[in-house]
């Protein structure tokens, strides 16, 4: 796991989450802004998956539990499409709030992933 790239994901996920919460709170249905922001986070997560698969070959090995790391990563990758799908099915401001909550949850999960990768027995 590349540390700066992990923090990019965290920051983008937090911004996307706050954006969606703000849009939802002001009564917006899921639109290009909220869904686009979440899509961006998803793309970063997929890039993270590639990075995680390649990094050990480049000498960047995880110090913690690999299985736990991938459980978090796969969960995060699954989570956003579910929230996005919900947003497409139920077009209300509440779905925008759900997008925000999911993005913030992903931010927490990426922090946790970084801990698992870098800190022994975290």
């Amino acid at each position: 796991m590349i540390e700066w790239f992990a923090w990019v994901q965290v920051i983008v996920a937090v911004i996307a989450g706050l954006l969606c919460l703000a849009l939802g709170a002001s009564g917006h249905e899921p639109d290009d802004f909220s869904l686009g922001a979440v899509l961006l986070v998803e793309v970063l997560l997929l890039a993270q998956l590639v990075v995680a698969l390649i990094a050990p070959a480049a000498g960047n090995t995880p110090s913690g539990n690999v299985l736990e790391f991938y459980t978090y990563l796969i969960s995060a990758i699954i989570l956003l499409p579910l929230a996005g799908f919900w947003g497409l099915v139920e077009r209300t401001k509440w779905s925008t709030l759900i997008l925000g909550v999911a993005a913030l949850a992903v931010a927490v999960m990426v922090v946790r992933m970084l801990q698992i990768w870098t800190v022994q027995s975290a």
């Binding site: 459980t71 579910l82 929230a83 919900w86 139920e90 209300t92 509440w94 909550v101 999911a102 949850a105």
Partner: protein, 167 residues
């Protein structure tokens, strides 16, 4: 042979209502409103609990069997609660009450035990220290869930939007 049937009969009303085709068929017209957010948070917690217990049991089950089995149990309960909240039939409404009450009892019991008897739970579960590892969401969520269930009422109540089986 039929005695067990009568012993768990419960209220005849419920049995009768359950044999209806669910009052809200495929696509509910009314929005779930804030309940949708609640369900989403439940879903995330279900995912978190499932992931954690999967890792714990797959890696070193013998280290803390009690805590790990509890993790698995809580994962199942969160999944059940999420599904139950999504459904609107009478049966699922009851399942939602049971699972959410169980969660609340679980987080309080395990929270207390993990403070007073650390030996019993050497490894964390979602409910350890009242769910501190999950920003206390496991402690707050059942309360919000019960408030929502109580205000929404059962299926067919006025708050639940369209009721007629035909429409």
């Amino acid at each position: 042979m039929t005695e067990c049937e009568s012993s768990r009969g419960g209220s005849p009303n419920l049995v009768a209502m359950r044999s209806f085709p669910a009052p809200t068929p495929s696509r509910p017209r009314s929005s779930r409103g804030i309940g949708g957010v609640l369900i989403a948070v439940y879903g995330i917690l279900a995912l978190a609990a499932t992931g954690r217990s999967f890792v714990q049991i797959a890696t070193n089950f013998t280290h803390a069997p009690v805590a790990y089995l509890l993790s698995a149990l809580s994962a199942v309960v969160y999944i059940l609660a999420t599904v139950a909240l999504l459904q609107r039939s009478t049966g699922w409404y009851l399942v939602a009450w049971v699972t959410i009450s169980f969660e609340f009892a679980g987080v309080l019991t395990v929270g207390l035990l993990s403070i007073f008897d650390g030996q019993l739970f050497p490894s964390d579960t979602v409910w350890s220290m009242f769910g501190r590892g999950y920003l206390f969401v496991p402690l707050v969520l059942p309360v919000l869930g019960m408030i929502w269930l109580a205000t929404r009422g059962g299926p067919g109540s006025a708050a639940d939007g369209p009721t007629g089986p035909g429409e």
